[in-house]
Amino acid sequence: MAYRANILINSDAPGAEAVYGAFLDELQELALRDEVQVLMTSGLGGQGVATQGVDAIVYPDSVRYVNLTPDDVARITEEHLLKGRPILALTQAAPEVAPLPPPAPKEVRVVLRNIGKINPFDIEDYIAEDGYAALAKVLTTMTPEQVLDVLKQSGLRGRGGAGFPTHLKWTFARNSPNKPKYLICNGDEGDPGAFMNRSVLEGDPHAVIEGMAIAAYVIGAEQGYFYVRAEYPIAIRTLRAALEQAREYGFIGKDIFGTGFDFDLEIRMGAGAFVCGEETALMRSIEGQRGMPTTRPPFPAASGLWGQPTNINNVETYANVPQILLKGGEWFASMGTEKSKGTKTFAIAGKVKHTGLIEVPLGVTIREIVYDIGGGILNDKKFKAVQTGGPMGGCIPEQYLDLPVDYQSLASVGSIMGSGGFVIMDEDTCMVDIARFFMDFVQDESCGKCTPCRVGTRRMLEILNDICAGRGQPGDIELLEEMGKSIMHGSLCGLGAGAPNPVLSTIKYFRHEYEAHIYEKKCPAKVCRALIEYKVDPELCIGCTRCARNCPVDAIAGAPKEKHVIDPTICIRCGICKQVCPVAAIDVY
């Protein structure tokens, strides 16, 4: 007789036998013994989080009952097994695992492969997807040198933004003679609009843990740290649970796979400083200091955390490692371009139809990302620019739509890969406003150590504010260019070095917008409040008074049936009048 349902009861919990017996009895009573099978199993796994009591999972419904006693069984058997109505009160709600939409045609999911498909709170779900098989293979059959060879062949570059060859970084740390050595995972994803790391930590934490364990084996570290920004509480919670399970199953801890290799991990949280994403600032933060970058050399591989050899990589870099070890360096190198191998995640945001997380082989073009995957510009407006790499990245205009997205190409047009930010802008975006916006962010987050960055970004911001407010002066553009260059050269860390990028790239590609703001006191995209005017077209106005009645500052004059007029000195440019006009007589000029 084929079974239509299976009940798995975890035999480890005290009282399991009694519950098991009760199920057998009840099923017998209802003549269901031939249709429903009851099994005792050690280690229940499955959906949900284990409790201390007797848990039972009913398949194929995947409903998990928790803390059962024999008294519960009669009800469950009748209501659920016979009539198909699970008793929700006795179940445990499974933590929500949000799936990603099905991959778009050009997507290849390596880092994102498990997100939404597995339950991050169930390590066995990860194991079913060949989880920890790479670690097993590495620890039992490979030397650190062999692992480095595979990584070299793969061409994996750091995914945090700098794109430094990972195998080299690990080699340096491995070759440093001092002990103890440390491993750090940079989870301080601070780029606005970037949530790749968050998604991986929340959806597939074990991939990162496994990658780190392999790295630790190679460099000779026994202790690792996750540094996760505090703004990601769910990621931290998921990571904690995953670490506990990984320890329980012996994938981290002492004598892993019986090879004598020890490695454990701790979580440290950020405290709201964007600059702590920079690796030296991050280490200072773990040490309990102000997160201010320090000079390199010495590089972390020689002297990092507490002066010891340290390897830091981004969440995504580590997440790629298990797959590369299992499928081979050649496999990874078969994707991407000559100098930028493999895939990369991007967070598509802005004025595009489909925003969200994607993963594509490097070398896919901007056009493919915006139109084929992103679905094109919202409301079918015109593409204007895309800003890549976060607040230190440049804006790339329309003429480069067919540019392949890889490390060199982005750098060649004045932008950076960064951690994968991808903000798309349309014809209604004012590029000066955008530059000002990013400068504001960077200015706020500057740690203050280097004068060119600390003072320079503030001065640049003041000039940009003036330009957007209609107080731009001839010579401002040249001044911004000069200051930008000084700041780039005079800054110790990537924040300062990259801070002028949005400004310099927008001046390069959209100089006419700056000139319009300064010389004509106009904002072509009609965004900058001080430079636009709302006007009623007297040809179209029907005198219905709706605009006047809705104006929050009483800036519109006009009697019923008369042409209405907006007073620009009172008008605050809120746009409500344009919204409510029934004949579209009001527009922005």
């Binding site: 994803e189 601070g190 606005p192 703004e231 102000r290 201010m292 945001a349 607040p391 962010f441």
Partner: protein, 154 residues
């Protein structure tokens, strides 16, 4: 912190380790809403650090607050994707509705209005956090609704 014992608990949790200074300050800030000069002096003494250093670390990180907060704290995402999605309007609505500029607390101590960096919910921008809840797809009306709801429910 109102009770000295709570501060003690936090210091003990980290075993008085001076390297856990950032975490200690963050925990205190989260528990009590902000860190007082007295707290910092206690921490300095227990960890064997100069007070200036404790202050220097406390003033560096934005999630460690040195000023008392309102009963409800709004953290509005000020980063690019939310901005491109219409953040400016929401910014203005927030300042208007609460009657205070960003960074300030209302006179009645009910609300503190702050900006935050990206929370990673960009596909539903503009986004804001009110205490521990995240709200997305904001419109000016929705903002007024949420403020009335949270403030009224207080």
């Amino acid at each position: 912190m109102p009770e000295g014992s709570a501060l003690n608990e936090i210091i003990q949790k980290y075993e008085g380790d001076r390297e856990a200074l950032v975490e200690i300050l963050r925990d205190v800030s989260q528990a009590a809403g902000y860190v007082t000069p007295e707290d910092m002096a206690t921490i300095a003494q227990r960890l064997g650090l100069p007070q200036s250093q404790v202050h220097s670390v406390a003033s560096f990180y934005s999630l460690i607050s040195l000023k008392p907060m309102g009963k409800h704290v709004i953290r509005f995402c000020q980063d690019a994707p939310c901005h491109v999605a219409g953040g400016r309007e929401i910014w203005e609505t927030l300042e208007q509705t609460l009657g205070i500029p960003f960074g300030a607390t209302t006179d009645d101590g009910q609300w503190t209005l702050l900006t935050t960096s990206c929370i990673g919910a960009c596909s539903v921008g503009p986004v804001m956090m009110v205490d521990d809840e995240v709200y997305g797809n904001l419109t000016p009306d929705r903002v007024r609704e949420i403020v009335a709801q949270v403030g009224g429910g207080a």
